[in-house]
Amino acid sequence: MKQYTLRREVIKPNREVYIIDPAKIREVMQLIKNSYEDNVYLATIAGVDKAKENIFELNYFIHIVSLGKTIVIKTSIPRNNPKLDTIMDIIPGAYGAEAEIFDLLGIEFTGNKHLRRGFFVPLDIVSRGVYPLRKDAQV
């Protein structure tokens, strides 16, 4: 894990955060899955629009069942080119989270064939091309 970590932080209460390079997300997920012998599940992915810094921040919350603790993998991608590799083939449970983030925040997960608009967002908003959770969205 060390070779991938750019910086470490802590989110309250005591959740370890590993900040990584977005290009390495698949390798990191595979590493976590292998090192805990599949005894992990992806709790959720939370996307945050940091408009001032011109980035989208993505937080992967991974629960390690054998240790009973949740760790956070944090990465950020540029706002003008919101693309990231999918992890759905490594962890199928990422389906709901990736589909939701694509629909609400407009981040494309390269390689995920199940992404579509209107997963949650009503069709009138989809037709206007609005991603509601972006900070500049007028809703």
């Binding site: 309250k12 959740r15 709790a43 959720t44 939370a46 009973g68 199928p92 509601p132």
Partner: protein, 404 residues
Amino acid sequence: MGAKPTDKDAEILIKIPISLDVPIGPQHPAIHEPVMLKIYADGEEVVHAEINTGYNHRGIEKLMEKNSYYKDKFIASRICGICNTVHENCYTRAVEYIAGLEPSERAKHLRVLVMELERIHSHMIINAIMAEIIGFDTLFMYIMRDRELVMKAKEIVAGHRVLAELHMFGGVRRDIDDVKKEKVLDILKKLEPRIKYYRRLFEEDSSIYSRLAEVGRLKSAEVLSNSLVGPILRGSGVKSDVRAEDKYDAYGNIPWNMVVRPEGDSLARMLVRWDEALESLEMCKYILEHLPQGSAVVDERKLPRTFPPGEAYARVEAPRGELIYYVVSAGGPNPYRVKVRTPSAVNIINSAFSYIGHSVADVPVILVSYDPCISCMERAIVMDLKNNIEKRVPLKYIAQWEMQ
């Protein structure tokens, strides 16, 4: 039907001669949430399942960004009617982590009391619905009657039958006295033999057994890789319960046992719920008998109006599984971002794989054993256009193409 192919490059044409669409949902008596489960069946066997969402997206996360922390507490508890207390607990704790507030021991015990009362009635309601789905309406009526006892207990403690609204940053909003304590203990005494009776019924009744046992069996590896949580996880033999892992509020001081069953079928999930309801009952009794002295109610006038910058990730074991609130504060009166991940969101959206191979009649049972149906029956003819051969194949065969 029977139209000549216009695309010359096409090699095959799939004709579906009998297409019987029975779209039950998004509104259906078996579904509590407006979600559509589209089932493709080959005869009686399910070959493909699709879950359609988006019928009731209310934009709560955006709404919470636009409102103050205090208004958000009331919005959070309105996300779900059945498990409203766990929502407000999770949100309240996330904000408390950011602000550095610590509730008193008495307040923590009162929070756990209301959350456990909620778990009992939530587990009773889903078991009642399961009884209704398998055609045992009398049992539905009986369980719902006894559930009213818990609602009464919740009303005595929190002041409201459904939406408790007991939490406030740094404490609770109402305290209980000895009279109320005795009343709740009386109710719990009446309730205990009823829950034990229903649990025995689910374990021993031959018609319930034959409908639930061996149906929707999930291996622990499938459950983990698809991120299914709560009683599904523990019904498949995985020891994971947020109450034991995070020991939030007063869970570290109260003796209780985690319920785990290895079978992984629908019956195991329902029995996990009954056993948990009994555990919750014992916890409620323990809390009432060992309630710490001191003040619990927080003076709301002294609470901060603005909150410092920071991030918090709170987890709570809701009746349906792990509930998550991720709150980002950039300082000021409103949160910058609130992410809510409800247990049903993963349990329903990610569970499409689990219906494949089961009979159509088992689909409602599996769905209800997760919590919330529909069937479409289709058969297909495959035409090889190059060789002009017509072949009848089961729909299962085509569903496998799609996967490849």
